[in-house]
Symmetry: C2
Subunit: 572 residues, 2 copies
C-alpha cells in the first residue's frame, strides 16, 4: 500500500508503533488523486537554467576576463555541449570527467552536462597523476575534458586506461604553456552540437547528477554520488543560507570542483545572477573584481578569508557595497572573522562535507547578538550552528547508540546528519555506504559538542583530539588561540607523544611575512589564555602540508610530531 501511494521506496522505522495503523489506513485522500504528468515533475536543477535563459535571455550570465556570455548564450552553449556529447554516444548514467579551473567551461559542465543524462565528475586540479588515474578508472569516465593548464597531469593519468575516454581540451587563451592532448577542443565540440537540442526528459529525480571524489588521506578516494533532487533542494537552500535575492553578482573564489562549488553554480543560475569566473585565487585580482563588477557574494575556505585580510595595502581596495562571504571547511578563527568584518564583509559560516552537497549546517545569526563585543560575536559565529532549511536533522551523538550528547557545550560526540542533502552513497562501494549511513544517519567522522541553545560546534576531526593526562584537548581551541597572535599566519595543532602525559599539544606555525616571534613568546601567549594542560609544549615553525583542497594534512603533522628530535623543537 505504501508503494501504491508512491512512497519513498523503503520502509522507515516507525517512531511510534501505536500510531502506525492510523497512519496507513486508506482514506478519501488516497483515491483518484495520483501523481500525473501535469502535477508531478522530477526536481532537477536543469529547470533553473531553462527558466532563467527564457526570462532573462539578454542578461549577463558569465564574466571571465574579457569574455562575456548572456543567459541565452550560456543556454545555447550548454545545449551544444550536451547534444554534441550525445552524438558521440554519451547517455544516461555515463560519467563525464573534467579537470578545470573556475572557467566558463567548468560552469557550463555543471549547468548543462546532465541534459545528456550523464553524470558530471569534476576533478580537483591539484590531484596527483595516480589519483586522477584512479578516479578516471573507478568512475569509468567516458569523456575527459581538460583545461590545458592541467594537461600534463591529465596526459599521464590517461596512460593505460582502456577503453580510453574521449579527450577534449579547454584551450584557454590565458594559458599558453600546457600541451593540447585531446581529439578536439571544447569550442570544436560545441560546434558539433545542436543549439536547439531538446534534452530527453528526466524520469526520476533520484538519478545521479554528479560524482565527486573525496581526497582520501589514508585509503583510496571514495566517489560521492549526488542526485538531481538533492542539488535542486540545496541550490534553493543556499538562497536562504546566503541571504540572496534576485540577480546576485557571484565571484568564483571557491573551486567549482570542490563539492560542486557547494551547489552555487545552480543557486546563482536560479536567481538569474552573474557568475564572475576567476582562474587564480589571489588577493589583488579578487579585490579588483569585487569593485569592478559590484560583487554581492562569494565563498571560500578560511584560508581565502585570511588571504583577503592579509592583502597588502596595494592589493586591497575599499568595497563599494556590503559583500557576503560564505565560508566552511573549518571554523574561521575569531581574529579572521573580526578582520573580515573590518573590511566590510558579512561572513556566513557553514559546515558540511562533499557528502552533504556543501553546507548542511549554518551558524544562523541572531539579531540579538548584534550588540555584543566583537570577540563574543566571533565566538558565536565560529560555531558551526544548526541545520539548514533543507536539511532534516543534525545532531551530536554517540555514533553507536545514536543517543544525543548532553547539550552542555562540553560533552563530545560525533556529528550526525540526515536529510535530502545527503549523498546517494559512494559509487561501487556498498560497504562504505552502509558504514556511512548506519542507523539512519550520515556519520561525518567529525567530533563536536552541542551547546545549550541547540548550536553544534566542531571541536575536532575524529582521531584529531589531543589527550593529555586523560584530558581531551581540542586542537581547534589551541589553534584559535594561536591565530589571535598578530604574528601568526597559520597554525595547526596535533598530539605529540609525551613520556609523562601520554600526549601533549604540538603546534606547527607559519608566520606572516616580515613577522618575527619566538616559540617561547607564543607559548607564553597561550599560557595567558588557555588552561595549562592545553598549552602547546612544542612549537615548530614550518609550512603546513595540505591536501589538494587546502585542508591541513594533520596525519602528516602527527607523524612529524612523533619523530621530532629534541633539537628541532623549541619551547616546552
Amino acid at each position: 500500500m505504501l508503494v501504491a501511494r508512491g512512497g519513498a521506496g523503503y520502509s522507515l522505522p516507525r517512531q511510534n508503533r501505536g500510531l502506525a495503523n492510523a497512519m496507513t489506513k486508506r482514506t478519501i485522500f488516497d483515491e483518484n488523486l495520483e501523481r500525473n504528468p501535469a502535477n508531478y515533475e522530477p526536481l532537477t536543477p536543469l529547470s533553473f537554467l531553462e527558466r532563467t535563459a527564457g526570462v532573462y535571455p539578454g542578461r549577463t550570465a558569465v564574466i571571465y576576463g574579457d569574455r562575456r556570455y548572456t543567459w541565452a548564450q550560456v543556454n545555447e552553449r550548454c545545449k551544444r555541449l550536451a547534444s554534441a556529447l550525445r552524438r558521440r554516444g554519451v547517455s544516461r548514467g555515463d560519467t563525464v570527467s573534467i579537470i578545470a579551473s573556475n572557467t566558463p567551461e567548468l560552469l557550463e559542465a555543471h549547468l548543462g552536462l546532465s541534459m545528456t543524462g550523464a553524470v558530471l565528475n569534476s576533478i580537483n586540479v591539484r590531484l596527483d597523476v595516480a589519483t586522477v588515474n584512479y578516479i578516471l578508472k573507478h568512475g569509468e569516465a567516458k569523456v575527459l575534458v581538460t583545461d590545458r593548464q592541467y594537461s600534463n597531469t591529465a596526459k599521464r593519468a590517461l596512460e593505460g586506461l582502456r577503453p580510453k575516454p574521449l579527450v577534449v581540451d579547454i584551450d584557454d587563451r590565458s594559458i599558453t604553456d600546457g600541451e593540447l592532448i585531446g581529439e578536439l577542443d571544447y569550442e570544436g565540440l560545441l560546434k558539433e552540437g545542436d543549439p536547439d537540442f531538446k534534452a530527453p526528459r528526466l524520469e526520476d529525480e533520484w538519478d545521479a547528477v554528479t560524482l565527486n571524489y573525496t581526497s582520501g588521506t589514508t585509503a583510496d578516494p571514495k566517489g560521492v554520488v549526488c542526485s538531481h533532487r538533492g542539488v535542486y533542494l540545496n541550490a534553493l537552500g543556499n538562497v536562504m543560507l546566503a541571504g540572496m535575492t534576485l540577480h546576485p553578482i557571484y565571484l568564483w573564489t571557491l573551486p567549482m570542483f570542490h563539492a560542486n562549488g557547494w551547489c552555487f553554480p545552480w543557486t546563482v543560475t536560479v536567481l538569474g545572477g552573474t557568475h564572475v569566473c576567476l582562474r587564480r585565487v589571489e588577493p589583488g585580482p579578487i579585490f579588483d573584481l569585487l569593485v569592478e563588477h559590484g560583487v554581492t557574494h562569494l565563498c571560500g575556505a578560511p584560508v581565502v578569508l585570511n588571504m583577503l585580510i592579509n592583502a597588502t595595502e596595494h592589493e586591497r581596495k575599499p568595497l563599494p557595497r556590503r559583500v557576503t562571504m560564505v565560508t566552511a571547511g573549518s571554523a574561521p578563527p575569531a581574529a579572521v572573522l573580526a578582520g573580515m568584518e573590518r573590511l566590510g564583509f558579512e561572513v556566513v559560516h557553514g559546515y558540511g562535507l562533499t557528502e552533504t552537497y556543501g553546507a548542511s549546517v549554518v551558524s544562523a545569526w541572531k539579531s540579538e547578538w548584534d550588540g555584543l563585543p566583537l570577540q563574543e560575536r566571533a565566538r558565536l559565529k565560529a560555531r558551526q550552528g544548526v541545520k539548514t532549511v533543507v536539511e532534516a536533522g543534525a545532531m551530536v551523538a554517540d555514533p553507536e547508540t545514536l543517543e544525543p550528547v548532553v547539550p552542555d557545550g562540553k560533552t563530545p560526540g560525533e556529528i550526525l546528519l540526515r536529510g535530502n542533502i545527503m549523498m546517494k552513497g559512494y559509487l561501487k562501494n556498498p560497504a562504505a555506504t552502509k558504514e556511512a549511513f548506519r542507523g539512519g544517519w550520515f556519520h561525518s567522522g567529525d567530533v563536536g559538542v552541542m551547546h545549550p541553545d541547540g548550536y553544534l560546534e566542531v571541536t575536532d576531526r575524529s582521531k584529531d583530539i589531543v589527550i593529555s593526562g586523560g584530558e581531551n584537548i581540542s586542537s581547534v581551541e589551541v589553534e584559535n588561540t594561536l591565530y589571535g597572535h598578530p604574528a601568526v599566519l597559520e597554525a595547526a595543532v596535533v598530539a605529540r607523544p609525551d613520556p609523562k602525559w601520554g600526549e601533549a599539544p604540538c603546534a606547527f606555525v607559519t608566520l606572516k611575512p616580515g613577522a618575527n616571534v619566538g616559540a617561547e613568546e607564543l607559548i607564553a601567549f597561550c599560557r595567558e589564555r588557555l588552561a595549562g594542560f592545553k598549552v602547546p609544549r612544542t612549537v615548530v615553525f614550518s609550512e603546513l602540508p595540505k591536501t589538494a583542497t587546502g585542508k591541513v594534512q594533520k596525519f602528516v603533522l602527527r607523524e612529524r610530531a612523533r619523530t621530532l628530535s629534541e633539537k628541532e623543537t623549541a619551547g616546552g
Copy 2:
C-alpha cells in the same frame, strides 16, 4: 525497472522515443545507491516550523492586536492543537475544517494541524449556509473549528450533519456578538494537548495537506487537494517571488482561507518572520500596522490595492520603508499600479488559482524596464508573466491539440500549467480531475495571449469575452480603460445582446465617493482611447456583485445586462 529506481509512480510520455533505450539502461549509478532514511526525507512544510522554533525560539512569530507569540510559543500551541485532536481520534486523512478570519488560530491550523496527519480545510468566511453545509458534508469534516463571528452560519450549516463533527469555538475577545456553539473552545482544546507531542513521521510527501473548495458559480464547489510536497516547494518559491530575505514582517491582508494564503503561512515561517494578523481589511488599520510594525510584505487582490490608493488623507500614513505587495486574482489596472508606486509600494504581480497553490506565474520584472514611462511600466507589469521558479510549464495553447499559440500578443488560447504546484486533484471527483488534467496539463479555463518575449497575459476568463460584430473584445481591456478615469472606483464589463452586432460591451461602474460623472462622459473617455467597436454602448452605475473571495460575479452582470430595459441604461 523504473519502479526499482524509485520512479514517480507513472510512466511519462516520452518526448523522444529514439532516446528511450539509452535513458533506461541500467548503469553503475543504479546499483547500491538507493534512498534510505539518512538520505531521503519526505518534503513537508512541517519541517519549517520545527526548524524556526528551534533556531529562533524567542523571536516574535505572531502579532494580533495586543496578543504576541514567540516561535517557541507557536510551536507549543501547534503541538497542543495536534496532540489534543489526536487524542480525540483525528488521524491521517481525516478532514479538519475551520471557518476563521486571519487570526493566530487560523495560522496555527495551517502550521500545526498536519502534525496529526489530518487535512486542513479552511473555509471561506463569506460563504452562505448551504455551501458551508455542502463542504462539511462532501469533505467529511471530523472537526469544525469556528470563529464566533461566523457561528451563526456555522450553526445552521451543521444542521442535519451525521455524524456531527466535533465543534470547537474560537472565542476571540474582540468579537462579542457571535454565539458559542461548540463542545469546547479553542484554548480549552489546547489545554488538553501535549506541549511535547512528537508528531508521527510523514511517510509520503504526496500525502494530502490541505483541502480548499473553489467558489463555484454554476456547479457545486470542487475540493482542491494539495500535497506536502507542493506546499513545501511553493513556500520556497514564494521566497524568490516576493524577494524575501530572513525575518520578513508580513501583514495578513490576504485571507488565509483563500488558497491557503498562497502558501505564505509557510513562507513567512521558514524565514523566521513575523505574522501580523488582521481581522478586518480596512485602509486605516492597514496603514497603522504597516507603520507600527515596519511591515515588509503583504498580499492582496487588486481590490485591496485600490482600497489603499483611495484611503482618505486621515487614514493614509507615509510608509517608513519600501513595502512589497504581491497581488494576483485579476490584473491590476495601470492606474492602480501607478497609484501604488506613488505610495511607495513595490507591486509584484502574479497569477494563479486555488488549484495552483497560489501564484504559479509571475510578471517577473526586468531592470531594463526601470527607465520606461509609468504607463509603459504599468502595461508590462499588468501582464501575468512567466512561470515561477518552482513551476514546470506555463503556456497559451489550443486546449484540444495542446499546440501553443503564435506568440504575437494577439492570438488567444487557453492558459495551461504544469508542475509540482498543481493540485493532486479534486476530492471524490475523478471526472473533473481528469478533465482538468487532460493532455498532461492543468487547464485553467482562462483565455490569454503569449507575447513575443515569452510573457503570457490573461485577456479574459473563458466565456467572458465580448464578441461584437465577429470581433473579440477583451472585457479586461475595456475595464482597464475605465479605471483610467479619475472618478471610477470599480468597473466590470460584460456582453449585452445587441440586435445589430450580436453582442456589445456593457459596463457596470462604481464611482469614488463624492465623484460625479455621467455615462456619456465615460463613453467619450473610452472612445478617445479604444477602437470604436470596443467602446461600451451601455454604462450602468451600480454596486458590483462579488463572490465571497471578492471576484466580480460576471454571470450575474451578464444576466442583468441581458434583461436591462432601455430606461435603466444611459448612453449608447
